[in-house]
């Protein structure tokens, strides 16, 4: 502190004295702390840092001090104002934080009342399962083959070694266009797509053909006159029944999980020889429910296997009918019902649910199965 200056005004000396200034600061800081809102704080700031505030008034007096005292008084004034401003800034931040927090609380809503955002659309599981199966085979290098639903009888039957007198070729099973002699039918299976593939594609042929097919069954809980199949066909050199078995196992695992296998049982189809029924190992119990009454399985009815479809090695007669040399090429084909697959895979108990177009059914599946 410098020595007293003879010429200064005693009053002004008082207001700039360390004690007085400290008093101003401490008054200001307690007012700042006492401010409970940003509005109050604004008034406090005006009162303690505004033009009419004690500190501002004292500051004006510095100019009147002798040069030797100015520096010291200025420094003191600066420190005093700094302390007040720091307190103001700190309190402002505190009050802003409180205000923001209060605002968030005030704006809170019942989030469970959200509406209008739920996805209401959906794709039919018969569509998406066709895509999913196609993707399994496309990943193996297959092509997705398609054909018309109204089909010539020649492609649907003759070329598939289904003789003109075969029982399937009666109005008991097949929808005919016009008359039984028109040569046009609603395809009874996806197999004419095999013939189209053999007639139109370059060898070797690896195709998967899902699609809608027709039989003259009345709609009930397990039958429908319109249903869907997926059919696979491979024609290449040296294709064996082991290739068929391996492909079916791969298919089963892609759709039903790691380790699931298939079982072949001898059967008869005119367009394949040897022919087989395909059973799928139960993907729910994996066979553990067989002879185990304590843990029955609803999916396979505790049989361990689920009937899935038919398959076989392409009959040489079919190759001949499409101009493929059976001495050089061989092949396999398999086919499954998609309604049936969906029913046991997704626990659908009534065929009619897939037919009627009830929005609840399709929405349950969203965009994929």
């Amino acid at each position: 502190m410098s020595a007293p200056n003879k010429s200064f005004d005693p009053v002004e000396v008082t207001t700039l004295s360390p004690e007085v200034l400290a008093g101003f600061v401490s008054e200001a800081i307690s007012a700042i702390s006492a401010a409970n809102s940003l509005d109050e704080l604004k008034e406090v700031r005006l009162a303690h840092t505004g033009d009419r505030s004690p500190l501002s008034l004292a500051n004006r007096e510095i100019g009147a001090l002798p040069p030797a005292a100015k520096a010291e008084a200025g420094k003191r004034m600066g420190e005093s104002r700094g302390a007040v401003n720091a307190a103001l800034a700190a309190r402002t931040q505190e009050l802003e934080t409180l205000r923001d927090a209060a605002l968030l609380i005030e704006e809170s809503v019942d989030v469970t009342t959200a509406t209008g955002v739920r996805a209401q659309g959906g794709r039919h599981p018969l569509t998406t399962i066709q895509e999913q199966i196609a993707d399994v085979f496309v990943a193996l290098g297959y092509q997705l083959a398609e054909g018309p639903e109204i089909e010539s009888e020649w492609l649907n039957f003759d070329a598939l070694n289904i003789a003109p007198d075969h029982p399937a070729r009666t109005m008991q099973d097949t929808f005919f266009i016009g008359s039984e002699d028109s040569g046009i039918v609603l395809r009874t299976h996806t197999s004419p797509v095999q013939i189209r593939s053999m007639l139109n594609r370059e060898l070797p042929i690896y195709v998967i053909c899902p699609g809608r097919v027709f039989r003259t069954d009345e709609l009930d809980s397990t039958h429908s006159p319109v249903f869907h199949q997926v059919e696979g066909l491979v024609i290449d050199k040296g294709i064996t029944m082991a290739d068929l078995k391996g492909t079916l196992d791969h298919f089963a695992q892609s759709m039903f999980g790691e380790g699931i296998v298939t079982r072949l049982r001898p059967s008869y189809f005119p367009f394949t020889e040897p022919s087989a029924e395909v059973d799928l190992q139960c993907f729910v119990c994996r066979g553990t429910s067989v002879d185990n009454p304590d843990a029955p399985c609803r999916t396979c009815r505790s049989e361990g296997w689920i009937e899935w479809g038919g398959c076989g090695m392409v009959n040489p007669k079919v190759l001949v009918a499409t101009g493929i040399d059976p001495e050089i090429y061989s092949g396999f084909a398999f086919g499954m019902g998609l309604e049936r697959t969906l029913m046991f895979r997704h626990g659908i108990t009534d065929m009619r649910d897939m037919v009627e177009g009830d929005v609840r059914f399709t929405r349950a599946f969203g965009l994929g199965v």
């Binding site: 109204i150 005919f176 028109s182 391996g246 009959n315």
Partner: protein
């Protein structure tokens, strides 16, 4: 095919302890699917043979009742009078001394009906005398079952006598295995499955007594159709002779009603050996029995009482006077075995399976005989089966053998040249030559392995074995499909889905993402649905493919539009309480060209299947079919999206239907043009025609009020239908990235007053064109008609967005571009700024 296990055991050894379920597993291993196992007569407990000792008629009751004493031998238990039981019985068809079947107390009869000692009609009834129906082995309920005198002893267990408790397998036989429709065939398969030997009853010719009598001669006019006809004539047949109970029981088990001994024996031998047989009353026959083609105009009343008109494609069995039967399908009424028949002539023949199949189909008549003959029956069986029949008729019907006549043309044996490595090549698995030979031999083949390839002569009972691949299948089947390993073939490197396939998926995803729900409707439609939709009589959508055998007379047509299916699905959802429903369907429709008939052609091409059809043939086959493009249909009612809290839901309007199409177009990179359209069933004032580059692809908008009323659907429902194949074909597969300019935007709104009939989209296009390249975007945001504009006019408000590629736009540049647009609209439509 029903197979009683006891009958099967007559021809093949099956371990005693094997249950029906286990025998099923055995047959499953060689490819015969057993659909069920039933037990004959659901009877448990002490069921025994009894002899009626005394009968006392009780007359004090409303109906006549008998109080009987019945001798039941050792099965009597601790009855006071050993061996005798008192039983009350309501039947009257028996006499003292008859052998009957008695259910002793504790026996449970079908229907869970347990017999107990009880007091009735004033006596203690200590059991029940049973009828065939009560035992669950037949329908006869004329009285109680009486066993042939001397056929059993009182106290004998009645179960084996009646075939009760026998397990019956229900086997589904695939159409290539006709031989398996018999005990003989299934026994062979059971033997093969167990690797045990088989004594083939089909190779044993029964010893018949020396012939003595007049033989009815046999003839065949066409050895292609009937290459073997065997007749056995028998006299002195007692038409009243009963059919032995074990035969009745077995026939009941396979599902055949007992008729008379002679008829029952034809069925019995058919089920046993597989050969259909037909017995005629020999006294009704005039001259020769002959297989021949029917003559035009001939008729035959068959055993089912139907009088049938015959054609020259019907093969018949006839004598010199008349047609006797439809060969191999059904006999005729005239010559059937009757209660007075004493002379029987039995026909056993081999027919061309195709001839039988065609007749069965033409006459809509499928019999046990035709089912076997159309699948192929052992060519060598007729002499054996007919001798077996004669033997049984002599044994059980007191008949005498008069003689045999037959005609035949022996077929060439089938010999297949066979490489023993072939099964391995087909299966992808190795089979030892010895295994292959053994399997072929077990089927009945004679295998000559001295030369390579082998020479395999197939057995007469396997006409389905005609080519090497047929033998391959048998080798793999008998060795076991489970032995075939699993390998994964390598396909050529793939390219994934085609662009169209990908786009189709994208369309479905886009629509579902917009809130629409996919449905998959039946493709069947009817005229009433076209009428309800108000589709005009001349509309090409009514020229629809017609089914010959629709399930419903109401819907005999194939859809030309997806709307009927969608309206049906919507109605179902509405009826289930939903008010906001947005459906879509992607499916093919069938569109006939004007010169294609709804019922197809009369002489369709039928190329040979012995070679690839020619290009001309393929073209002709394709020409049969209608065009079958994919359509997209959508039908909406109520709000597409639930409303926000407190807000009113916005129902889908005509513009939403159009917007769904336009947005899908944007998704697929196709600009769909909209113009006013008029097309049923849309509201004529609220129907947009949708086109791509001027080509019409469909319609969207609000449906006509009358159509909605006809269909019972909510008012103001909106719909769209377009040719999705056309849209996908136009899709821009590889989208180009737009230039993203970042200089400041300038926004201007203009309101143009035009006549009310001017299309907004036309005005928009003109403004856009004239405003030039600075115009980045233009959007219609309001349409106003009312007091603020002149009568017959409307105000169209457009929002314009300007931006330059390389600079901040100056105010005068923007206003010049804007003015150019306004001027052009003024010029084209007389538009004025509002």
């Amino acid at each position: 095919m029903k197979i009683p296990v006891s009958w099967l055991r007559e021809f093949v050894e099956i371990p005693e302890n094997l249950s029906g379920r286990e025998v099923s597993e055995l047959l499953l291993s060689v490819g015969f699917e057993v659909e069920g196992v039933d037990t004959v007569g659901d009877v448990r407990g002490p069921l025994v043979v009894g002899r009626v000792k005394t009968i006392e008629e009780l007359t004090d009751f409303k109906k006549p009742i008998r109080w009987c004493t019945v001798e039941v031998g050792a099965a009597n238990g601790n009855d006071a009078t050993p061996g005798i039981r008192g039983i009350v019985c309501g039947a009257r068809n028996f006499s003292e001394g008859d052998l009957v079947v008695v259910a002793l107390p504790g026996t449970t009869l079908p229907g869970d009906f347990t017999i107990a000692t009880r007091e009735t009609y004033g006596h203690i009834s200590d059991g029940m005398i049973c009828s065939v129906r009560e035992l669950g082995i037949g329908d006869e309920h004329d009285g109680i079952l009486i066993l042939p005198a001397g056929s059993a002893t009182p106290g004998d267990n009645a179960f084996p006598i009646l075939g009760l408790g026998d397990e019956v397998l229900d086997i589904s036989v695939t159409p290539d295995r006709g031989y398996a429709l018999s005990m003989r065939g299934m026994a062979r398969e059971a033997a093969i499955a167990q690797r045990v030997s088989f004594n083939d009853p089909g190779l044993v010719l029964a010893d018949l007594p020396e012939a003595g009598g007049t033989v009815i001669p046999a003839a065949s006019d066409d050895y292609q159709a009937c290459d073997l006809l065997v007749l056995r004539t028998l006299g002195n047949y007692n038409p009243a002779a009963p059919t032995p109970d074990f035969i009745k029981a077995r026939l009941a088990a396979v599902g055949v009603r007992s008729i008379s001994l002679a008829v029952d024996l034809t069925n019995y031998v058919m089920f046993e050996l597989g050969q259909p047989l037909h017995a005629f009353d020999a006294d009704k026959i005039t001259g020769t029995i002959r297989a021949r083609w029917a003559k035009a105009g001939e008729t035959l009343e068959t055993l089912d009482g139907v009088k049938r008109d015959l054609t020259t494609e019907d093969l018949v069995i006839a004598d010199d006077a008349r047609v006797l039967s439809l060969a191999g399908v059904m006999g005729g009424a005239y010559s059937e075995i009757s209660e007075t028949t004493t002379r029987v002539v039995l026909e056993a023949a081999h027919f061309d399976p195709t001839v039988i199949a065609k007749m069965s189909r033409r006459h809509k008549l499928s019999s046990e005989a035709s089912r076997r003959l159309e699948r192929g029956v052992d060519r060598m069986l007729p002499p054996v089966a007919s001798a077996r029949f004669a033997q049984l008729l002599i044994e059980h019907g007191g008949a005498t053998f008069e003689g045999t006549s037959s005609v035949e043309q022996a077929p060439d044996p089938i010999v297949i040249s066979f490489d023993p490595n072939l099964p391995g090549q087909v299966a992808g698995h190795t089979y030892e030559s010895a295994t292959v030979e053994k399997i072929l031999a077990s089927l009945g083949c004679s295998v000559d392995t001295s030369k390579s390839p082998w020479s395999v002569r197939t057995p007469s009972w396997r006409p389905d074995l005609a080519a090497a691949i047929d033998l391959v299948e048998e080798v793999i089947r008998i060795d076991g499909y489970e032995k075939v390993p699993a390998t994964l073939p390598t396909a050529p490197a793939g390219r994934g889905l085609t662009e169209l396939q990908k786009l189709q998926r994208r369309a479905g995803l886009h629509l579902a993402g917009r809130g629409l729900v996919e449905v998959r409707n039946y493709p069947f439609v009817g005229v009433a649905e076209f009428d309800a939709l108000g589709i005009p009589a001349s509309d090409s959508r009514r020229h629809a493919v017609q089914l010959a055998n629709a399930l419903s007379d109401e819907q005999p047509l194939m859809r030309t539009t997806l709307l009927p299916g969608l309206t049906g699905a919507l109605a179902r959802n509405i009826s289930r309480g939903f008010t906001d429903v947005a459906l879509f369907e992607i499916a093919s429709v069938s569109l006939l060209s004007a010169d294609q008939s709804a019922t197809g052609v009369t002489n369709p091409p039928r190329p040979s299947v012995l070679q690839r059809p020619s290009a001309t043939d393929i073209e002709a086959l394709e020409a049969l079919l209608p065009e079958q493009p994919l359509h997209l249909g959508a039908l909406l009612t109520g709000a597409l999206k639930p409303a926000a809290l407190g807000a009113k839901p916005t129902p889908a309007s005509w513009s939403d239907a159009i917007d769904i199409a336009l947005a899908l177009g944007i998704e697929l990179g196709v600009e769909i043009e909209v113009s006013a359209g008029e097309y049923a069933p849309w509201h004529p004032g609220r129907c947009a025609a949708l086109s791509i580059n001027g080509e019409l692809i469909g319609y969207a908008g609000e449906l006509a009020p009358k159509a909605l009323e006809n269909l019972g659907l909510p008012k103001r429902a909106v719909a769209l239908e377009l040719n999705l194949s056309a849209l996908l074909a136009a899709a821009n597969v590889v989208a180009s990235a737009p230039a993203i300019w970042t200089f400041p935007v300038a926004k201007e709104d203009i309101a143009l007053v035009v006549k009310a009939d001017v299309a907004a989209t036309d005005v928009l296009n003109v403004v856009r064109e004239a405003a030039g390249e600075l115009l980045e975007d233009i959007r219609l945001f309001d349409v106003y008609e009312g007091s603020q504009v002149a009568e017959g006019h409307k105000s169209l408000a457009f929002a314009l967005r300007f931006r330059a590629q390389d600079r901040t736009l100056a105010a005068d540049e923007v206003s010049a571009a804007r003015q150019a647009g306004v001027d052009a609209a003024a010029k084209s439509f007389g538009a004025s700024l509002r």
